[in-house]
């Protein structure tokens, strides 16, 4: 009985580790460019680590960039045809 429970716990831990590693690897694909964008905007690149927050992390990152005043200044799109 205890052997079965031990196996189940072990498998659960392994599955959890796999999920965590995949999550971190995928988050890294987002963190690297986001870090660069934050620095170019004038923020600390550390803010890109919000991507590690499951589900809502990318939305937090986008909200900071979309609704915050960029310390390094913001541009305006050029009118079409100019």
């Amino acid at each position: 009985m205890f052997t079965v429970i031990g196996w189940l716990i072990g498998l659960s831990m392994f599955a959890l580790m796999v999920v965590l590693v995949v999550h971190v690897l995928f988050a890294l694909l987002l963190i690297v460019p986001s870090w660069r964008i934050f620095e170019r905007a004038g923020y600390s690149g550390l803010l890109s680590l919000f991507h590690l927050v499951p589900v809502i992390g990318p939305f937090i990152v986008m909200a900071i960039l979309a609704f915050g005043d960029w310390p390094n200044g913001e541009g305006r799109p050029r009118p079409a045809g100019s």
Partner: protein
């Protein structure tokens, strides 16, 4: 209603109304982010809406990387068009143009710390105390000179312009060349805002730009 919302959502591959709300929200935010970088807003929203297509989110991820490392129009807006900008390459050996004060940039920065250029065994520090500094490979003792002792650096090589917490760079036609984050800066480009740049290359000397 006669319209099955779930069927419509399913048509676009969305499994719930939450996904639709998240998609619209993300598109709106990316529109704003792209506009702040000086790009048309629809490019940002379009990158998000691409996830609705059969290509999936891989293209959006690639576009995110492209956006992060491309040259943003915003970077060239601040100082391009400044009076005194060189619009023709200088003849070799000709005297550099007189330093020109910069007009007020589109948005002044509150950060008034100085600047540091470090690399090639040299550290150059300067601040807003002067409107322009001349980077040269051999100095004559002028207070506005930043000496970068290297054979590949011209005499003079480039001009650094400061205004309202921002910094600009203008190539003076040195054969060694000037590069901003790997992109060649020509004299015809005039002064370019390098406030957000990370690395400069003057001749063979690579310099990291940071706040003091």
């Amino acid at each position: 209603m006669g319209i099955d919302i779930a069927a419509i959502l399913g048509l676009f591959g969305l499994t719930s109304a939450f996904a639709l709300v998240a998609l619209v929200l993300a598109g709106w935010m990316c529109w704003r982010i792209a506009a702040k970088a000086g790009l048309p807003g629809w490019t940002g929203a379009g990158a998000i809406l691409l996830t609705l297509t059969g290509i999936g989110s891989l293209v959006s991820l690639i576009l995110l990387w492209v956006f992060a490392f491309m040259r943003w129009p915003r970077d060239g807006l601040a100082l391009a068009g400044a009076p005194g900008a060189a619009h023709a390459p200088m003849a070799r050996g000709a005297a550099p143009m007189a330093p020109a004060a910069l007009p007020p940039p589109p948005r002044a920065l509150a950060d008034r710390r100085g600047w540091t250029l470090s690399g090639g065994g040299t550290t150059l520090r300067f601040d807003d105390g002067r409107a322009s500094y001349t980077v040269t490979g051999e100095g004559s003792g002028g207070p506005d000179e930043l000496v970068l002792a290297d054979p590949s650096v011209g005499r003079p090589h480039a001009r650094l312009l400061t205004a309202a917490g921002r910094i600009g760079l203008q190539d003076l036609g040195s054969p060694g060349g000037t590069y901003i984050d790997g992109a060649r800066l020509l004299p015809a480009h005039g002064p370019r805002d390098i406030t957000a740049a990370r690395t400069l290359k003057l001749g063979n000397v690579e310099l990291a730009l940071s706040r003091t």
